[in-house]
Every structure is written in structure tokens, then in C-alpha cells.
């Protein structure tokens, strides 16, 4: 079974040279720590930056330089600032190669629910609805089950949707799953996890074909 850092590490293996990538808040942010050596990946922060660098050193924080999670950050050589319309323009126009975000639920049709729990405080969707509506390649990083042990991989989302038919791949603590027109296709299992455990933790339609390899991290 993977921890949050290992989920991020596995997702980092999906990165390719030249990719422009938007990382959501939570586990997705950790992907930045595992960008493979020898390739150039440019991180987009939807509040108006391409070329986001690591957190600043103590004493070097700049109030005019934050990420979408409002954390202080730095820029890398070759970075660019722009306004919020340009930022979502590049997202809407499909210029961002990969979007990684967290979710509360994902359906086997690729629907995602990630922004609202009715009856509890609703904080808002931020940029998530824009991202999922336009991104060509969306990977969800999340735990396979919620804090009550219930599956987050469903046949239909129960929570209010963020977007429909948009998620392409899910990396959880248990498995790597691709979403196809047939449903969830199990691609890889986490070290020490059996196919049965993954089956039991998945409510939506899970397709298991042949031997399922153990994931490389």
C-alpha cells in the first residue's frame, strides 16, 4: 500500500519532457518533489504563473508571489506571470498537458466530485471546474477509500459533481486505474496489495484482464 508521497511519486512517472502541468492542492502538490531528472516540466499555477519553483528560503518570502493554495513560492528561470483570464485561457484551450487533482469521488464513467459536501461548509470550486472541463489528460490522486472505509471509486458519484466524463486515470494507495468506456480498468497494483483487496475496495465497474503487474515507483 502506498502513502501519499508514494502516490505522488508514481504520478511523477507519467511526466514527459516538455509537459506543462497543473497540480492541485493536497497530494498533487507533492508530485513537484518527484519530477524525474533530465526532463523539463513547467508547472502552471492558475493564479497566474508558469514556471513555479520550490518554496522560498526563510526570510525570502514575497507577498506578491504565491501559488493557488496561497502558499509563498518562488519562480524558476524562464517563468512568466499573467492575469487570471490568460491563465484559464490556456487551460480552456487545452495547452496544459496534464492536470493532477484530488477528489472525493470518481465514477467509472470518469465523473468527478471534489468541491462540495451538502450540509457542511461549501468553500467553492475555485478553478477545479474549469480545469476538469477542458484538460485533455486528468489524473486523480486520492486514497481508494474515505475515512469511513467507503470506496471513492463508484458507479455514480453521490456528491455534487465538479465535471463529467473527464478523468482519465486514478492513482490511489492501492492501484493505478485507467478509465475507459467500459469502466475502471486495473493497470497496476500497489506493492503488497492483492487484486482481491482492490476489487473489494472498488464499487464501480472494475475490469481485470490478465496478470496485473505491481507498480514501479
Amino acid at each position: 500500500m502506498l502513502d501519499k508521497n508514494q502516490i505522488a511519486q508514481r504520478i511523477a512517472r507519467e511526466l514527459k519532457d516538455g509537459y506543462y502541468v497543473n497540480l492541485g492542492i493536497g497530494i498533487p502538490t507533492l508530485v513537484a518533489n518527484y519530477i524525474p531528472d533530465g526532463i523539463t516540466v513547467t508547472l502552471q499555477s492558475e493564479n497566474g504563473l508558469l514556471g513555479m519553483g520550490p518554496f522560498p528560503l526563510k526570510g525570502k518570502e514575497d507577498a506578491d508571489l504565491i501559488n493557488a493554495g496561497k502558499q509563498t513560492i518562488t519562480t524558476l528561470p524562464g517563468s512568466a506571470f499573467f492575469d487570471s483570464a490568460v491563465s484559464f485561457g490556456m487551460i480552456r484551450a487545452g495547452k496544459v498537458d496534464l492536470t493532477v487533482l484530488g477528489a472525493m469521488e470518481v465514477s467509472d464513467a470518469g465523473d468527478i466530485a471534489s468541491w462540495k459536501i451538502p450540509g457542511k461548509l461549501v468553500k467553492g470550486m475555485g478553478g477545479a471546474m474549469d480545469l476538469v472541463a477542458s484538460a485533455k489528460n486528468i489524473i486523480v490522486a486520492m486514497m481508494h477509500t474515505n475515512s469511513k472505509g467507503e470506496s471513492k471509486l463508484l458507479s455514480q458519484c453521490k456528491l455534487p459533481l465538479t465535471g463529467i466524463k473527464c478523468v482519465k486515470k486514478i492513482v490511489t494507495n492501492l492501484a493505478v486505474i485507467e478509465i475507459t468506456e467500459r469502466g475502471f480498468v486495473l493497470l497496476e497494483k500497489a506493492p503488497g496489495v492483492t487484486v482481491d483487496e482492490i476489487r473489494n475496495a472498488t464499487v464501480g465497474k472494475l475490469i481485470i484482464e490478465g496478470d496485473i503487474p505491481e507498480m514501479l515507483i
Binding site: 499555477s45 492558475e46 493564479n47 497566474g48 504563473l49 520550490p54 518554496f55 522560498p56 528560503l57 526563510k58 525570502k60 518570502e61 514575497d62 507577498a63 506578491d64 508571489l65 504565491i66 501559488n67 493557488a68 493554495g69 496561497k70 502558499q71 509563498t72 513560492i73 506571470f81 499573467f82 492575469d83 487570471s84 483570464a85 491563465s87 484559464f88 487551460i91 480552456r92 465523473d111 461548509l121 461549501v122 468553500k123 467553492g124 470550486m125 475555485g126 478553478g127 477545479a128 471546474m129 474549469d130 472541463a133 477542458s134 455534487p160 459533481l161 465538479t162 465535471g163 463529467i164 466524463k165
Partner: protein
């Protein structure tokens, strides 16, 4: 032509109860601090605020919330504010949550003289309820209208007496879009200079969009999530 005002109090003197105002900023980054303080001091009420976020309890738009000066908030994300939550749950405050890119584009459309835009954000979700939609190239898009705002309050790094503005870092965010969208746009700047001192190649907001400008004072520029590496 004189666009220069002495301070925030004078620049916002004619904002009145019930007005629709846009406020630039992302979180607390690039917010019009001086104008917000002046609105709080003036005690103007029943405002509709269009801004990406609603500040925190004791800073930004949170100051106006605390004094119950807001009737309605239009934003994309409103976490980090207990007073906001209280007023939302008690029904004192009307709230409209919209996708961040839609918020940006509805400001942009206004400044571009376009009545509406089509965006795929929110298709198939509760955001789409009651909205017109159209299919282009096999994909569904929602019709979203340009905002109309009585005033836009923006914050820039530098500006000149003609209203030309330059922003700094990610403090740019919604500011240039809202600057284009206000019936009256009020810009507060950290540094007010003479025409000619700013390089025309580097202007982000051309002065035609800016009706009033003043040199701000005592910027706190508070950091919401101070994060450092070891």
C-alpha cells in the same frame, strides 16, 4: 484631465449603499487594501462584492463582512473565513459561487465590450442549472454573461497620473480584468509616477480603463500561507 485623488477616502467618496463593486486580488495577494479600509470606515452597506475570495476574518473583504456591509458575495472560493461561514449559514449573506475561469472571463468580456462568453466549465454540474447552453464542435458550453459593476477597485504596483498600470508577480491575477470592467475603475498603487516614467512596452492596463488613481499607504501585504523550505 485629472485622475489623481489624494487618498482612498476621496477616491471612493461616491460609492453608495447597494452598489456592485469588483475587488481585485487572489486570496490576500494583490487586494486593494486602502480602498477596503476606506469602505469599512465609510460604513457603506448592502454591497454586492465580486471577488475571487472573501478575505480572512480580520483582513481583506473579511473586514467588510465583520461590519455586515455585504448583501451578496460572488466568488470562486471562500474558505478561511469563519464570519463568512456564519453569515452564509444564518442566511444573512447571499452567496454565488462560480468557477474561477468563468469569473475571470466574465470580467474580461465586460472590458472587451462583449455581452457574454461560452465556457465548458460547470457543464453537467449544478453550476449549469437554468443556464443556456450550446454545442460547438460536439462539445457543450454554457452561456455566461459579462459582469456589470458600478465600481472596480484594483491594486497595482506602479501607476502613472494617466492611469497606466503595472502589476507585480502573482498580485496581477484578477486586477487587470476588473480594471477593464468597472463603470468607474479606481486604482491604488504602491508607487505613483509621472507620465513617461513607465515604459509603454511594459504597461499591463492602459490608462483608458482607469478613472481614478491614488498612491496607497501603509501596505500590510499580509501572507496567508507563509511556507518555506528547509
Amino acid at each position: 484631465m485629472n485622475k489623481v485623488y489624494n487618498n482612498a477616502e476621496e477616491a471612493i467618496h461616491d460609492i453608495t449603499n447597494g452598489d456592485i463593486i469588483m475587488l481585485g486580488g487572489f486570496g490576500l495577494c494583490g487586494i486593494p487594501e486602502n480602498c477596503i479600509s476606506a469602505l469599512e470606515k465609510k460604513g457603506v452597506n448592502e454591497l454586492t462584492c465580486i471577488s475571487n475570495n472573501a478575505g480572512v476574518d480580520d483582513f481583506g473583504i473579511g473586514l467588510l463582512l465583520k461590519k455586515k456591509q455585504l448583501k451578496k458575495m460572488i466568488a470562486s472560493y471562500v474558505g478561511e473565513n469563519e464570519e463568512f461561514e456564519r453569515q452564509l449559514l444564518s442566511g444573512e449573506l447571499e452567496v454565488e459561487l462560480i468557477p474561477q475561469g468563468t469569473l475571470a472571463s466574465r470580467c474580461m468580456a465586460s472590458g472587451y465590450g462583449m455581452p457574454a462568453i461560452f465556457t465548458p466549465a460547470g457543464v453537467g454540474t449544478e453550476v449549469a442549472e437554468g443556464k443556456e447552453s450550446r454545442i460547438f464542435h460536439g462539445k457543450e458550453y454554457l452561456l455566461e454573461y459579462a459582469f456589470e459593476a458600478d465600481f472596480a477597485l484594483v491594486k497595482a504596483w506602479k501607476g502613472d497620473r494617466f492611469g497606466n498600470l503595472i502589476y507585480r508577480g502573482t498580485a496581477r491575477n484578477f486586477n487587470p480584468l476588473m480594471a477593464m470592467a468597472g463603470n468607474i475603475t479606481i486604482a491604488e498603487v504602491e508607487e505613483l509616477v509621472e507620465p513617461g516614467e513607465l515604459d509603454p512596452n511594459e504597461i499591463h492596463t492602459p490608462g483608458i480603463y482607469v478613472h481614478r488613481i491614488f498612491q496607497g499607504t501603509n501596505y500590510e501585504k499580509r501572507i496567508e500561507q507563509r511556507t518555506v523550505r528547509n
